[in-house]
């Protein structure tokens, strides 16, 4: 021991900082073992190379994973992705105009929430992060209601209690969001176990950001899912950044996030998250496993957070300003659009027309929401502040309500 060298502390740093040329050479985009689509009941030990490959469909010639979807479905998916992007751009601007306190975008990651929303059933439940607003949009949730929530106005379905975009929409398979990250991942597992316990058919989908996989909640959820073979899909959206921290701070210098599945003896898929068809296909594979009582699947969606973390963030402070435009997996909307065009099922004109329609509808929805009011200009009755602490109010809130004179 005495002749060993002095130790030194290693601290990971991304390959490029502001002013430097963007680099993604630490990531592999080869299909590898994921070229094959295994049987859903393949034993775990046959799947141990999967997490190091990449499930891809768009741009491949004859991918084993191609879900072979009707073009109409693809057009619906495209529409929901475009709508999500336009919606977010618009509400981001609304924040800049002082109409709300906070907002977040999923730009570049729309394929994930949208494809999974469409690929899963009405009886399934997703446990979202704040970066899958597309799930709601794909299921036709009211845009006006979303904006009312964002404005915390009188018609806010969450009664002004929550930060913007921390929606809850049970009927749309969208579990209650909260500002703290990671802590609902285990709820997805509990929900799935409850469905299995009751002998029901619904499965659950838990989302978590790659940065948040470092929380103990991640491990605990996977442990329970694995031990009780819960019918759940556990999805890591690896968008390379967690606010200002690159994925290496969550362990990405050492292995893939999909490889975390190996710790629990469950399948781990690494999927091109900007490929609508790959997202769909992987989701179906995992869902088939869950529905057949074969247990959980961990999926890493490889994607890129094009925008800042939130309205409070300025990503040019910590990464090259043009990093997003160098992202090797491209833009999910462009890719699906081009695919449809190549199939002869879509065109630039139809796209432009769709954008115009969606923009008009969004403007309309925003106008309606603003007629109710923006943050601070309109809000639910202050009495709502005191409701829902418990099912029935106790004397404390009753007295305090009185004290406040409402």
């Amino acid at each position: 021991m005495t002749d060993s060298p002095a130790l030194s502390l290693y601290v990971p740093e991304p390959l490029a900082r502001p002013g430097e040329a963007p680099r993604f050479d630490h990531l592999s985009f080869a299909a590898g073992a994921a070229e094959v689509r295994p049987a859903v009941d393949a034993p775990e030990h046959e799947l141990r190379d999967m997490p190091y490959g990449l499930v891809r469909v768009l741009g491949e010639t004859a991918s084993a994973w191609d879900p072979v979807l009707d073009p109409e479905i693809l057009r619906q998916g495209l529409r929901a992705m475009v709508q999500t992007r336009l919606f977010e751009d618009r509400l981001f601007r609304a924040h800049r105009q002082g109409k709300t306190s906070f907002f977040m975008k999923s730009t570049g990651e729309e394929a994930i929430g949208v494809a999974q929303s469409m690929a899963l059933g009405a009886g399934d439940m997703c446990f979202p992060t704040y970066r899958v607003q597309g799930w709601l949009i794909a299921r036709g949730y009211s845009i006006e209601t979303m904006i009312n929530q964002i404005y915390s106005n009188e018609r806010d379905p969450l009664k002004g209690r929550q930060l913007p975009i921390l929606y809850s929409a049970r009927e749309y398979g969208f579990y209650s969001l909260s500002g703290n990250v990671g802590s609902r991942f285990g709820h997805a597992v509990g929900w799935a176990m409850a469905s299995a316990y009751r002998g029901d058919r619904g499965i659950a989908l838990g989302y978590i950001g790659e940065g948040t996989t470092a929380e103990g909640d991640f491990h605990e959820a996977l442990t329970f899912a694995s031990v009780y073979r819960a019918p759940v899909i556990l999805a890591v959206t690896n968008n390379q950044w967690a606010i200002s921290s690159f994925s290496g701070i969550a362990g990405a210098e050492r292995t893939t996030f999909a490889a975390k599945a190996l710790a629990y003896g469950i399948p781990g898929l690494r999927v091109d998250g900007n490929d609508f068809l790959a997202v769909w296909a992987a989701t179906l594979w995992a869902a088939a496993r869950a529905r057949a009582n074969l247990g959980p699947t961990l999926i890493e969606f490889v994607t890129y957070r094009v925008a800042g973390h939130s309205t409070s963030d300025d990503p040019t402070k910590y990464r090259p300003a043009d990093e997003g435009s160098h992202w090797p997996l491209g833009d999910p909307i462009e890719r699906l659009k081009e695919h449809l065009v190549a199939l002869g099922e879509w065109s630039g004109e139809r796209h432009a027309q769709m954008e115009a329609e969606l923009t008009e509808a969004l403007r309309e929805a925003q106008r309606a929401a603003e007629a109710v009011g923006t943050l601070g200009k309109s809000k639910p009755s202050v009495a709502e502040m005191f409701e829902g602490v418990f099912k029935d109010p106790d004397w404390r809130v009753i007295e305090q309500r009185r004290e406040l004179g409402i």
Partner: protein, 338 residues
């Protein structure tokens, strides 16, 4: 009516609910085949089936997260945390999730879970098998905290907690499992045999959450206690020879403020007794509430008797434990001002 100790009474509550409601399920470390380290879930798996009462990984955060997800689905899980000291790894789940789910989702989701956990000292369990963490739950908006002091109450309160649609922390004074320990640690152990509160109906009944019990009426001074301390209070009152009114809070959230205020308004004096270390403990809240609402009636300062402001020390258990002698002293002090 059968005589039950507190373990049997809690077991009976779980048994009744498992039989009655298919949405009730029990899980936790060692609670399944083995029946729990305190034997509280003994026989439940054999009787109700493997998926109704089963072992969980050693992962308190995972246990509570799983329970919340199940609760949101529509079940009524009754997870056990093996010792209340080990609730702490699940604290975030309880506070940020269980307690807030209903409010933040405007009632779309809620967590009707009942977290059972043995708590408190007096069993030479050392630092991490003896603590009384109720104060940190009482401060959390959206959590209820229930603490029984008898087998009868334990069963009735637990059934009420399970049937309650809000998350409930159900703290079981482990020193009372086998008998009504009154803090006289140097005397022969008492069992529950022969105690009226150990006559426990076999079937379903509830003791409502938020209703304190007047264990002993009196006119000199009001003593507020819960859990083991109810029995210690009886002994301390006896020692002090005062005509005290002893109130067993039974639940600290919801708190039966009316019963407390009515009593202190009558007696003009108040002593608060809890096992937890005093500083920042729930006694502070009780003292403040009583002072705010009974100020003009008070003849003497409200006293608090609690554990010392140190961690729970193994060898000094009986020096640390706020026993009858310390209560009696406080009662005597409080009575000095006539």
């Amino acid at each position: 009516m059968p005589v039950m100790n507190m373990i049997q009474a809690i077991n009976s509550a779980l048994d009744v609910k498992l039989a009655q409601d298919p949405d009730v399920l029990v899980f936790g470390e060692d609670v399944g085949y083995f029946g729990g380290v305190f034997r509280v879930t003994d026989g439940l798996q054999a009787k109700h089936g493997l998926t109704r009462c089963f072992d969980a990984p050693i992962s308190e955060g995972g246990i509570i997260a799983t329970a919340i997800g199940m609760g949101a689905y529509g079940l009524r899980p009754v997870p056990e945390i093996q010792f209340a000291d080990y609730i702490l790894p699940a604290f975030d789940q309880l506070v940020s999730e269980a307690a807030r789910l209903r409010y933040r989702s405007n009632g779309e989701f809620w967590a009707p879970i009942t977290v059972r956990s043995p708590y408190g000292g007096g069993i030479f369990g050392g630092q991490t098998h003896s603590q009384s963490p109720e104060a940190i739950f009482a401060h959390i908006t959206g959590l209820k905290t229930v603490i029984p002091s008898t087998p009868y109450d334990a069963k009735g309160l637990l059934i009420a907690a399970i049937e309650d649609d809000d998350p409930v922390i159900f703290l079981e004074p482990k020193r009372l499992y086998n008998g009504p320990f009154d803090g006289r640690h140097d005397q022969a152990l008492k069992t529950w045999m022969g105690e009226p509160a150990a006559d426990v109906p076999e079937g379903h009944y509830t003791v409502p959450l938020g209703k304190a019990a007047i264990v002993r009426s009196g006119t000199d001074v009001t003593v507020l206690a819960y859990g083991t301390m109810v029995h210690v209070a009886k002994a301390g009152i006896e020692d002090a020879g005062v005509d005290a009114e002893l109130i067993d809070l039974r639940s600290i959230v919801p708190l039966d403020i009316d019963t407390i205020v009515a009593s202190v308004a009558k007696t003009g004096r108040c002593v608060i007794l809890h096992e937890a270390s005093r500083f920042g403990g729930f006694g502070g809240e009780l003292s403040a509430l009583v002072q705010e609402r009974c100020f003009w009636a008070l003849k003497s300062p409200i006293e608090r008797v609690g554990g010392w402001d140190t961690p729970y020390p193994h060898a000094f258990e009986w020096d640390y434990f706020p026993g009858p002698a310390r209560l009696a002293k406080a009662l005597a002090r409080t009575m000095e001002n006539r």
